[in-house]
C-alpha cells in the first residue's frame, strides 16, 4: 500500500510537470495571436504604460495585418523574474534594467534588446558630514542602500568607483539591499549613511536639501545613458516578424505620444506613481525616452571587466536586434 502511495505521488508529480511543459508550448498557437509582456513599477517604464493604456501595440498590429492581437501585461518585481519568465516561454517580451538584460543575453536566455525605453538620473546621497566623495566611503563602515545586489544601481556604483580610480568592488560589503522608498526613509531617519537611487527618488532627496550628493555616480551614468530597455524573445523576432514590428512600432508611438502630450501622460501615470500631476510632469520631463540605446555596449564591457558577467559579448549586435540603433 505504501509503495503504491509513493508510486502514485511520483506519477502525479511527473504529470504535473509534464502539464506545465505542454502549457508553455501552446502559448501562441491559437487563431488569435497573443503577446505576454512583463514590465515593472516606476517612472522609467512610462512608454510601456502609455502603450498599454492606449492599446498601441494592438493598433499597430491591426493596421499592418488587419488582424487582432491579444496583449497581456504583467507587472513583475525584478529583471531576474522576467528572465525566468522568458526562458520558460511564458513571456514574449520584458522591460528591465540594462544590467539584467545584458546578463540575460550573455546567459543565452533567448532574447535580445528590441528597444531602449528610458534613461533616468541616478544619485548617491549621504547624510554624513565627513563623506564628500567615494574615497571617503572606501574602508569605512558606512552603509549604502540600493535596490539590489547585481542591479543596475550596483553596477553604476562599481562604474563610478572605477572611474574614480578605485576598485569597482571596494564598496560591495557596504551595500544593503533595500527598495527605493525604504532606502529613502532609512536615509531620512539616519539609519543608513548613503542611498543610491534613481528618479523620482533622486529629485525627492535633492529637493529636501538635507543631504549631500556624491556626484561621481550621476557623472558615471547620466539620464542620456540607457537605463531601462525592452527585450523580446528571439522566437518572436524570427517566427512572427509582423508581431515583432507591431511591438517596436507600438513602443515608438508611445514615445512620440509622450513628446507631444507630456501633460496628458503625467495625468495618466501620476496616480500609479503616487505623485501630484505637477511633480509627475517635472519628473517625466527630466527623463529621456528614446528607442535608441546609449552606452549599452560600454556597460556590457564594464560588467565583463569588473566580473559581473563571465563572458563578454563580441559586439553591440550581439546584444540587440538589427532594427535597434545606438551603441
Amino acid at each position: 500500500m505504501n509503495k503504491m502511495s509513493a508510486g502514485l505521488l511520483g506519477l502525479s508529480l511527473l504529470m504535473c510537470i509534464g502539464g506545465c511543459g505542454i502549457r508553455n508550448q501552446n502559448t501562441v498557437s491559437n487563431e488569435q495571436k497573443s503577446l505576454n509582456i512583463a514590465y515593472q513599477y516606476g517612472l522609467a517604464y512610462t512608454p510601456a504604460i502609455v502603450a498599454k493604456e492606449k492599446g498601441l501595440i494592438e493598433e499597430a498590429y491591426k493596421e499592418a495585418t488587419g488582424k487582432e492581437v491579444s496583449v497581456t501585461w504583467i507587472q513583475m518585481n525584478s529583471g531576474a523574474d522576467i528572465n525566468t519568465g522568458i526562458a520558460s516561454g511564458d513571456l514574449n517580451v520584458g522591460f528591465m534594467g540594462a544590467a539584467p538584460a545584458i546578463t540575460g543575453v550573455v546567459k543565452d536566455v533567448g532574447y535580445k534588446v528590441f528597444t531602449n525605453l528610458s534613461g533616468q538620473e541616478h544619485s548617491l546621497m549621504t547624510n554624513e558630514d565627513d563623506v564628500r566623495s567615494l574615497k571617503d566611503l572606501v574602508g569605512s563602515s558606512h552603509q549604502i542602500a540600493l535596490v539590489n545586489i547585481g542591479s543596475i544601481q550596483h553596477i553604476i556604483l562599481a562604474k563610478a568607483l572605477s572611474e574614480s580610480g578605485l576598485d569597482p568592488h571596494a564598496l560591495d560589503s557596504n551595500i544593503v539591499a533595500m527598495k527605493h522608498p525604504d532606502g529613502m526613509a532609512a536615509l531620512e531617519t539616519g539609519n543608513i549613511a548613503c542611498h543610491l537611487t534613481s528618479s523620482p527618488y533622486t529629485y525627492m532627496e535633492r529637493s529636501s536639501g538635507s543631504f549631500y550628493e556624491l556626484d561621481e555616480v550621476s557623472k558615471a551614468w547620466s539620464a542620456d545613458d540607457s537605463f531601462i530597455v525592452g527585450v523580446a524573445a528571439t522566437s518572436l523576432y524570427e517566427e512572427d516578424p509582423e508581431l515583432y514590428k507591431a511591438l517596436c512600432d507600438g513602443i515608438r508611438t508611445a514615445m512620440e505620444y509622450m513628446d507631444t502630450h507630456m501633460g496628458e501622460v503625467a495625468e495618466m501615470t501620476c496616480e500609479l506613481d503616487g505623485n501630484t500631476k505637477e511633480d509627475e510632469l517635472k519628473y517625466l520631463e527630466s527623463g529621456s525616452y528614446t528607442a535608441e540605446t546609449n552606452s549599452l555596449f560600454e556597460l556590457a564591457r564594464f560588467m565583463s571587466d569588473a566580473g559581473f558577467i563571465d563572458t563578454m559579448p563580441d559586439s553591440y549586435e550581439d546584444l540587440v536586434f538589427d532594427n535597434v540603433l545606438g551603441d
Partner: protein, 266 residues
Amino acid sequence: MRKKEKKGFWIQIVFIALMLVVWETAARLRLFGPRSEIIFPPLEAIGRAFVLNFAKGYGGVSLWRYIGNSMKLLGEGLLIGIILALILSGACMVSVSFRRIYSLVIAVMDLLPGVAMLPVVIIIFGISPGVIVFLVVHSVLWPMSRNVLDGFLAVPRIYVEAGKNIGLRGISLLLGVYLPASVTYVISGLKVGWARAWRGLISAEMIFGIASCPGIGLYINQMRVNLNNAEMYATLLVIIIIGLIVQYGILVPIENRTVKKWGMSR
C-alpha cells in the same frame, strides 16, 4: 533498527530516488520551455554547482561564510524566542489578566508576516543584523508561546494541587509541575518554531540583504539575479540538508529521550 522502522526508511529512500528521477526526466525532456536548461537544470549541473558553492562561492566568498552568518543569527533569534516564550507563557499561569492580554497579543502577532513588518523594524532597530534576529524571534515566539500556553493549561488540576501541597509556589511550581507535565507541547512548539524561524530567516535575508553580514537568503538572491539557477537550486538543497540535520539530529533525539521514553507520545 526494528523491522518496521527499516521498512519505513527504505520507503523514504525509494520516494527520494523517484523524485530525483522525475526531476532528471523533466530536465532532459526540456519541459519548461525553449531555455529549460537555464531555469530547470539537470541533476549533474546542480551537483557540480553544489560543490562550486562551497569551493568558489560568489565574488570569492564561499557559501560556508553565508551559512555561518545565517546560523549565528538563527541561533540568537531562536534562543531569545524560546526563552521569551517560556517566560511569558509562565507569567500567564501566574496572572489571569496577563494571560488574557498575552493571548490577544499572540492571536494578533502570529497573523503578521515578519517581512511585512520590515520597514517598521528598520526604523526601530536601524540597519543591522539585529533586524534579522528580530524577525527570527517574531517567527518563533508566537507559535511557541501558543503551544507552551496550551500545554500549561492542559496540566491536570490534581498535579497542580499536589505541587502546592508539597510547598511549590510561583517559579518552583512552574518548573516543578507545569513544565514537566507539558513537555509534549513544548517540544511540538519547538518543532513548529524552528521551522517558522528557518523560513523567516531565509525570507528576510532575501528581501533585506546586508552585504557585510551575508546570509543564505542573500546568496540565493545573488544567484537568481545572475541567472545561476543550478547554484540557486544547490543552495536550496543546502537549506533542506540543514533542516533535516536539525530535525533528525537534534529535535527527534530530544523527543526520543523525553516524551517518547516517558510514554507521553508514540
